[in-house]
Amino acid sequence: MPTTPSPPLLGRKAAKVDRLAELMGERADDGHGASIWREALSRMRRSPMAITGAAVVVVFVLIALLAPLIAPYSPVEQTWGDEVFPNRNVFVGPRAENWFGLDNLGRDQFSRMVIGARQTLLVGVVATIVGFGVGALLGGTAGAAAVLGGRWGRQLDNVVMRFIDMMLALPTLLLAVTVAALIGPSLLTVMLAVGVAQVPIFARLLRGAMISQGGRDYVLAARALGVGERRIALTHILPNSMGPVIVQSTLTLATAIIDAAALSYLGLGNPDPSFPEWGTMLADAQRFLSSAPSLAVYPALGIIVTALGFTLLGEAMREALDPKLRK
């Protein structure tokens, strides 16, 4: 027996509240207060595009990270070199010990694909970091200068943007070819060339985002509150402008992998055959397309699926972050 009986009114009220809470349960307010990113994430969790993309990317990254554990053989040793005669059209296809068969020098194709994933990821990531780093530096400088205004600001913005225009006037592939031809073929060349080609894109994107953020009311409000200009640029505008840049990074990973393949095809790829990389493998294997198509098909599929994964993820992120498409 309860010592203090509840007053009827209170009981009734409590019941009412419970009933209401129950009715409103599923409509609980989840949007308010959540950051744009949390919101975007929850939207992405519902998008099949994002899930597919993320799954591909996760699998790819896992393979790349765990490559040495997964690969059953050395990707370099020509263990079965006496079984393959490319000049006589003798190749070895998939079999029990070599799941993807042997390459043209008698190496285990599966191990090369697995280790290749790691190299490919490395190329993509470093190229993206180069593009992102340099591009964000240039774009951020120009953007901050433009937002802060003043004569110097405008001039700085102008100078940087003219430079970016210049780079933009060189179509990306030409830019990459020129860079690669300049420093000679190596893994680093590929990464730099592909990265440099992405610089103007990142720079313009960040500058554009910063300028549009600079026009927002909250910046005006911060100004009105006497917050220092530099502080506004660094702590308010910049972080709020990163969305499109981060999306672009994801997309650039895909572009980098594809562009790296193109450079390899043009003979500007990584020359060290002991580090298999999908682009180089594809470009190399094209010679055998008529006699041993699978040598080209494995790396081609690898590139396409991975690039697709990153693209899907990037596109899903873009959609999730785009206020216009939030519906």
């Binding site: 003219r162 430079f163 000679g184 693209t311």
Partner: protein, 334 residues
Amino acid sequence: MLRFIVRRTLQLIPTLGGLSILLFAWLQRLPGGPEYALLPDDATQEQREALRRALGLDEPFTVQYLAFLRRIAQGDLGASLQTGRPVLTEFWTRFPATFELSMTAMLIAVSVGIPLGYLAARRRGSALDFAAVGGSLLGICTPVFFLAFILKVVFAETLGWLPSAFRLSPGLTRTDITGFVLLDAVMTREWDVVWDGFVHLILPGLALASIPLAVIVRMTRASVLEVLGEDYVRTADAKGLHPGTVRTRHVMRNAMLPVVTAVGLLTGSLFAGAVLTESVFAFPGIGSFVYSATQERDYPALTGFILLIATMYVLINLLVDISYSLLDPRVRAQ
């Protein structure tokens, strides 16, 4: 309007000027140096040194650059090391081929991409939409040279429907007026040449179109989706206008604005994309020449071609900006 054009044109000067410095500096520093490309494999070190002196490669950078600028101003881009012919001549003899190829690719991209993008947007979520978006993603993610290869294997080697290489069948006689194969052939009514030129453009055109097509599909789709949600489209519907009128005058006219910009940028980049496609299809244009120029360290040709391609790219973008401002009265007013 005129002021807009003048201002935009003036903006090109520092861009191109800076570009020329950048290019010149880059190419001067390419390893190997032109003296290696000029001489046969077994030339002696002394011969190479002599050539360096003769070429003025031992002079200070600024001296070399000023001489370079002076020559450019006179329309002299030097002679190609590979062929010994003037770079400008090389460019213009190859330009028509690449132009026709790029235009074919763009035509494919635009004529397929825009309707497809529109339909995908109109039927958002349908199988068509899924196929269009998926296909365009696939198009972007497939290395162009691999795609070109597959196209050749399927249509040229296996089916034998289309030629796998060249711009025209060997031995075909044609009257050359402007260098533009199709244009000349139409002017002279050489219909066999028109047809031959056309079938030779299909495969490389398709390969080159893959990326612009993918971009245009997705761009059109996104743009149409956005415009379809705009109030003025609802207004147009509320006026009871024919769906055709609404589609052309109200939806497409607005949705095409960003697509026009993209088409411009893509057209410019096609000249670079041609490097891959042309070399796969042995298509004798700017791209295959640039490719062999990088292989052969053909300095003057590489400098000249990149400068000309960049100029062309910049000019195309100027044209796009101008046409954009014609299409969008809001930009014009600024």
